[in-house]
């Protein structure tokens, strides 16, 4: 058996005490294994450490204990092998859409003509060919996030990390973006970790939904989602889909109720 694509081993994160307060355990020691082409969504209320976990995998944060192995090798710091899409709009405002998508390739020293080919391909995948020479500012939020996805994918990362990428979008745009991302995944079969607090989104996208609970953040359940691909929005009306959504809703709800009563 080959090694798993990504192995999170005993990863925890404690933020040191500030001004005499107690240290904050954002993430209790956590284990998670992703096989190649896995699509895992991490679901949980705010403050459950899901973003912290993702940032550790990205290399943007350092775990207090434990380690993250990508194809068996321990990761040290951020790198092009783990592409990331953030919730905030992080396109470089001084670069055009085309230059944004080509950023990582240029940083890697790829030839300009090769960059153009790759960029054209991914602009087409996200449907933004007509906007290649616009500034990010001139695009809507949904278009900016599509660009961000194209920018991450153009780099051909081994794993794609998404931190509530559609969190700031309106409901209709969000639904379209989910199908777009899923379509790309069905085609390219990347390994994906997708963090969200939207239950429907988590179930719709995932092969497995991992729920997390807060204080300290830890994994509370793993739910396989076995609907076949390709999936489209009709799936959201499927009774089986509703059943999984209800189960997860109850789980998260109990968690939030407990958190609220704890104060």
């Amino acid at each position: 058996m080959s090694a798993p694509e990504l192995e999170i081993k005993g990863v925890s994160r404690v933020f040191p005490a500030r001004r005499g307060g107690a240290p904050i355990e954002a993430l209790a020691p956590t284990d998670l294994i992703l096989e190649k082409n896995d699509f895992v969504t991490i679901l949980g209320p705010s403050g459950c450490g899901k973003s912290t976990l993702l940032r550790i995998v990205a290399g943007l944060d350092t775990p207090t204990t434990g380690s993250v192995l990508l194809e068996g090798k321990s990761i040290k710091g951020p790198g092009a092998d783990r592409g990331m899409v953030f919730q905030s709009y992080t396109l470089f405002p001084w670069l055009t859409i085309r230059e944004n998508v080509g950023f990582g390739l240029r940083e890697r020293g790829m030839k300009a003509s090769d960059i153009k080919d790759v960029v054209d391909l991914y602009l087409d995948r996200v449907g933004l060919t007509a906007f290649a020479d616009h500034w990010p500012k001139q695009l809507s939020g949904g278009m900016q996030q599509r660009t961000a996805i194209a920018r991450a994918l153009a780099n051909d990362p081994k794993i794609l990390l998404l931190d509530e990428p559609f969190g700031a979008l309106d409901n209709q745009t969000r639904g379209l973006m989910q199908e777009l991302l899923l379509g790309i995944w069905e085609r390219e079969r990347k390994t994906v970790i997708f963090v969200t607090h939207d239950i429907e989104e988590a179930v719709f996208m995932a092969s497995r939904v991992v729920t997390m609970s807060a204080r300290p953040g830890r994994i509370s359940s793993v739910t396989p989602v076995d609907f076949p691909h390709p999936r489209d929005y009709h799936l959201k009306a499927d009774p089986e889909f509703a059943k999984i959504r209800l189960k997860l809703t109850e789980e998260i709800r109990a968690e939030v109720v407990a958190a609220v009563s704890r104060g």
Binding site: A58, A80, T90, F92, G104, Q138
Partner: protein, 257 residues
């Protein structure tokens, strides 16, 4: 008037010109009406006549040229050193820790107070004038550039890291372009201050320049000439400001899109 309500560009320009008209009308009223003694304040016509006399008989254009050269020279010298130092301070915390306290202290040393010392060190030649402007500008630019670079959006830096950027790539391809418009804006601001320093430098120990003409005219009670000199500085300032703004619009089109 509604707060923050935008106005047409036609109205904006007319209003801007209107205030100049009001200013000159008030000045004419005070002088031609005899409310202010001519000894202390020349009227606009006298000012223009004096100005023409300066330009045609006293080679005032040469004085203007030499003053512009000093301002630009001292300012470019200061920028060449201050911008890279500021970027290094903004990007690298140890460099900031090393230099920030000293630069903050040096920033409050008044450039004009250095004039006597600089005359002692560098004589009354061009070097002394350049140094006054240099001292007045360099620390200000360093600090402002450092702040802008350090305030680069953290999520853009993180995004660049996840796209495989190296540490020097972050500085060159994120911190620099992100803060470039603000750096240009800082330079525009400091260039305005440089005009103050050059006149101060020329008031003491100079034999040419707008400031020299002004101090000479004071001895002759030629207030028309003094005012003409001041207005020339204002006009040059306005032109350079406009040039800077246009250049910024062109260079940083993404900000104005």
């Amino acid at each position: 008037m509604k707060p923050l309500q935008p106005i047409s560009s036609k109205l904006r320009i007319s209003l801007g010109i209107l205030f100049f008209v009001v200013f000159f009308a008030g000045w004419s009223f005070a002088t031609f009406g005899g409310f202010v003694s001519r000894t202390f304040l020349a009227d606009p016509i006298t000012m223009l006549k004096d100005g023409w006399w300066l330009l045609s008989e006293r080679h005032f254009l040469g004085d203007i040229g030499i003053t512009v050269w000093r301002v630009v020279g001292g300012f470019v010298l200061a920028s060449l050193i201050a911008v890279p130092v500021g970027i290094a301070m903004g990007a690298y915390k140890p460099i900031e820790a090393l230099l920030e306290p000293f630069v903050s202290f040096a920033r409050y040393l008044p450039a004009s107070a250095f004039v006597p010392l600089l005359i002692l060190w560098a004589g009354i030649g061009e070097m002394q004038k350049l140094l006054v402007i240099f001292i007045g500008a360099v620390f200000q630019i360093i600090l402002m550039v450092a702040v802008y670079v350090a305030n680069t959006r953290r999520d853009l830096v993180e995004a660049a890291y996840t796209l495989g950027a190296s540490d020097t790539g972050i500085v060159r391809r994120v911190l620099l372009p992100a803060s470039a418009p603000d750096i240009a804006e800082t330079l525009r601001l400091v260039l305005g201050w440089a005009w103050t320093y050059v006149i101060v430098a020329e008031l003491i120990g100079a034999s040419s320049g707008i400031g020299y003409m002004i101090i000479n005219s004071q001895a002759l009670m030629a207030t028309g000439q003094i005012i003409f000199g001041i207005i020339v500085i204002g006009v040059i300032g306005l032109i350079s400001d406009l040039a800077f703004k246009l250049a910024n619009r062109f260079l940083f089109a993404w900000r104005f899109a």
